[in-house]
């Protein structure tokens, strides 16, 4: 289907991403802020990170992240501050906890089960013996063998 249409219905302007005015003077801090922003969801958009979104809320969270970093927070602490305010929903990378175990370990579990099943099937599948030749086929085979010699 048309990807991202829903996303755009909620967007004021499509030219998204960080505004020059928001940026931090220190390039190292700014690049950390970009990294953090990329993994935070813009809550009013459809599956868009705050680094990409032009919504006001995304702007607010970008500023919040930068404020925390300027105050000397680590990346985790800065993300934590955003999560404390907006909940786990803001994380594009779902946190690892019992409710998300099926999500995080599902693919690996499936791969192991799938690989196991394939191997079992390869080993133990019914070894259907080829159907015995009927008279006509046997005759044809003999002719072929004779021709070869």
């Amino acid at each position: 289907m048309r990807p991202l249409i829903l996303l755009f219905l909620l967007l004021a302007s499509p030219v998204g991403a960080v505004e020059p005015a928001e940026r931090l003077a220190d390039p190292a801090l700014e690049s950390r802020a970009r990294g953090i922003s990329a993994e935070l969801r813009c809550l009013v958009c459809q599956n868009e990170s705050i680094d990409e979104s032009h919504a006001d809320l995304a702007h607010d969270i970008r500023v919040l992240v930068r404020e925390r970093l300027l105050a000397g927070d680590s990346d985790t602490a800065a993300t934590g501050a955003v999560v404390a305010r907006y909940g786990d929903f803001v994380l594009l990378r779902p946190p690892m906890k019992p409710a998300t175990w099926p999500l995080w370990f599902g693919p690996l579990a499936l791969l192991i089960v799938g690989a196991g099943c394939s191997l079992l099937w390869l080993r133990h599948r019914p070894q259907a013996a080829p159907a015995p030749l009927d008279d006509a086929e046997r005759k044809a085979l003999e002719t072929l063998l004779r021709e070869d010699m």
Partner: protein, 661 residues
């Protein structure tokens, strides 16, 4: 009047498909040839009728008939003709009509091109297609009718969402739907085979071209959508693991697995019940994809409540199609016996690995897309699943896939020689190492994963070429001899080479996106901006008036050193009717890298925000996808698929002794 005619045709089509879904299948059970033949007539009639309905709706859009609710809501007289036409499928009702039109097109194609099919199989296939048609026509007529009239027609319509008014997006849905719906043919063949209890090489040979054609359309459709996102977004993202995108990606993944597993059925007469299951799952995911996007469930599970009639109908339809076919599968599949034996290290083994990884990849995407909805429905915590999840789960599954993809075609059927294949692939090892070294030296501070990705792309590309040169005997025999071999090689072999090479190109494009450079600056008129080795100078911003929008059009001169490269004109368009702004980015490409320029807002001082990106190898993402689809098309042109041709020839030579068969 045309609108009523279209409406009437659609109702008539419903009755015709009811006949199509019942009479032939009863005829097949009773071995009544006349009843079986009804399927063909009905399929053609339904195609004509739905075609008329489609034409009627299109006519209503073209002449801007604002007595039709659907036209009011989605069209406007000022819209360019192209978008009046594409507006037909730019909404729920119209897109459902397009879907069912594509379905009838596929059924008609089966009816026309299946003269060589056993009559019973053909009757059953057409009947199953008819059943799907009945479900969709009922859905359209009772819950999403595009032909309803308004009591008091307004003077003009609401217009189409501006972001949809784009040439790339105008043709995106038809391709995507052709892909989705095309898989219904494989599905119908699978169900018919389950009813008959027989799957053999001939069956696989009939199914493969249909699967291949749908796969090509889906590949193009997805690529178009992602390309559109790339040039409209204003910052050059092209894939977001958005549920709407995932919905189209899942059928692609399983469909790719299906193409490969049906090769094993055809050549080696094994993996039968697995292939049937894949055919069922592929189409089921197409259905789920269509409805996931259309029902609004993706934005919120509670969207169902806003239109319970639609939601309930969708659930019932999914239940009937998926539940019904899987039940039939559970009952009948155990009786499908596979014949061909093979060692784990063999071409078949490699294809099993391909299927395992693609299916797991699809399951991962499915989990990531639907698990948050599931948790939400269970009143659990609200979650977001974005790219970081898929990068950590889906991408690792694809790495062994790419490695194996280089080796698989080198292995022999039945029992392969892994060590021998590796030795013959020494070129690919060298290419991978070289690519990694070059990437390491040329780029600065890129993530290590991107370098691994480029090495994998080089490995795959070199392996594919090595396999191809080996097959046509290049460097081993005179050039004319290998040219002759290349000509006599089945087209399907060339198609495989092209499609796999396209994958290598695609992987390179994806990996290199880690080396993007960006510059976002507030620039006054006459000001400059530096990105990679290019200098951009904002010369002017002028107002422009389009057919249904006003725009600000920038003139930006791009230079490299002292040499002028080009002048680009990115725009910001303001659609007065919808009060919405869109961005027309400017992309300058040399097919090795894109220079991407977008115009942002002006501040109070009259300075403009300019976003410029230098994106190495990014065009390869879509070039790769196009090569893949091209490979599919080449494979499709293989004369072996036109089994009828071979048969006719055999009939003609029937007087000769059947030697050499």
């Amino acid at each position: 009047m045309f609108v009523e005619l279209g409406h009437f045709c659609l109702i008539l089509a419903l009755f015709v498909t009811v006949v199509q879904s019942t009479v032939p299948i009863i005829g097949a059970a009773r071995r009544h040839l006349g009843w079986m033949a009804v399927g063909r007539t009905c399929a053609l009639a339904a195609f004509l009728l739905i075609g008329c309905a489609m034409a009627a709706l299109m006519h209503a859009y073209i002449v801007s008939d604002f007595s039709v609710i659907n036209v009011i809501e989605n069209s406007h007289t000022d819209k360019p003709l192209l978008y009046k036409i594409s507006g037909v499928w730019g909404n729920h009702e119209g897109s459902m009509l397009l879907w069912v039109f594509m379905l009838s097109l596929c059924a008609a194609a089966v009816a026309v091109f299946s003269a060589n099919l056993p009559p019973a199989l053909r009757a059953r296939v057409l009947a199953v297609q008819g059943m799907i048609g009945v479900g969709f026509l009922l859905f359209i007529l009772f819950t999403s009718n595009p032909f309803l009239r308004a009591a008091t027609p307004p003077a003009n319509g609401h217009g189409l969402n501006p972001v949809l008014q784009d040439p790339g997006l105008a043709f995106h849905p038809p391709f995507l739907y052709l892909g989705y719906v095309g898989f219904s043919v494989a599905f119908a063949f699978a169900v018919a085979a389950l009813i008959e209890g027989k799957v053999d090489a001939a069956w696989a040979r009939w199914v493969r071209p249909w699967t291949l054609a749908s796969w090509c359309a889906l590949t193009i459709g997805i690529a178009m959508g992602s390309w559109w996102a790339y040039y409209t977004l204003g910052w050059g993202g092209w894939w977001f693991w958005d549920p709407v995108e995932n919905a189209s990606f899942m059928p692609w993944l399983v469909g790719t697995a299906l193409i490969h597993s049906s090769i094993v059925v055809e050549k080696r007469d094994t993996l039968k019940s697995w292939t049937i299951l894949l055919a069922i799952i592929t189409f089921s995911l197409s259905l789920v994809g269509t409805f996931l996007v259309r029902s609004g469930v993706l934005t919120s599970v509670h969207a169902f409540a806003t239109d319970p009639a639609r939601g309930t109908f969708i659930l019932l339809l999914l239940l009937a199609a998926i539940g019904g076919s899987l039940t039939l599968y559970a009952v009948r599949a155990p009786s499908l016996q596979g014949g061909g034996l093979f060692a784990p290290v063999s071409r078949e083994g490699a294809l099993v690995l391909n299927n395992l990884l693609l299916s797991c990849g699809c399951a991962t995407v499915f989990l990531g897309t639907l698990y948050p909805l599931f948790l939400d429905a269970m009143n659990g915590p609200k979650l977001s699943v974005g790219f970081p999840f898929f990068n950590r789960t889906f991408v690792p599954l694809m790495v062994p896939m790419i490695i194996a993809l280089g080796i698989g075609p080198m292995l022999a059927w039945k029992r392969g020689d892994l060590l021998g294949a590796m030795q013959r692939l020494w070129v690919a090892f060298v290419a991978a190492a070289l690519a990694a070294l070059i990437a390491y030296y040329v780029t600065t501070g890129g993530p290590v994963f991107a370098i691994i990705g480029l090495a994998l792309a080089a490995w795959l590309g070199a392996a594919v070429i090595a396999e191809w040169t080996e097959r046509i005997g290049l460097f081993r025999m005179p050039l004319t001899a290998s040219l002759r071999r290349a000509i006599h090689l089945p087209r399907a072999a060339h198609g495989m080479t092209a499609a796999h090479f396209g994958m290598a190109v695609f992987v390179a494009g994806v990996s290199a996106s880690a080396f993007d450079r960006e510059a976002i600056e507030v620039v006054p008129l006459g000001g400059r901006l530096q990105v990679a080795s290019y200098t951009l100078e904002l010369q002017s911003v002028d107002p422009v008036t389009g057919p249904n929008y006003r725009a600000e059009r920038a003139t930006i001169r791009i230079t490299k050193g002292s040499e002028e490269i080009t002048i680009v004109h990115p725009e910001r368009r303001f659609f007065t009717l919808q009060q919405q702004t869109t961005s027309e980015t400017s992309i300058r490409t040399n097919f090795l890298a894109d220079l991407y320029v977008a115009l942002g807002e002006a501040d109070a001082a009259g300075k403009w925000t300019i976003r410029a990106y230098y994106k190495p190898l990014v065009p390869w993402i879509w070039i790769g996808a196009v090569i893949m689809a091209f490979g599919g098309a080449v494979s499709l042109s293989d004369r072996r698929w036109r089994v009828g041709v071979a048969q006719r020839r055999r009939l003609g030579s029937a007087v000769l002794p059947a030697a050499g068969e």
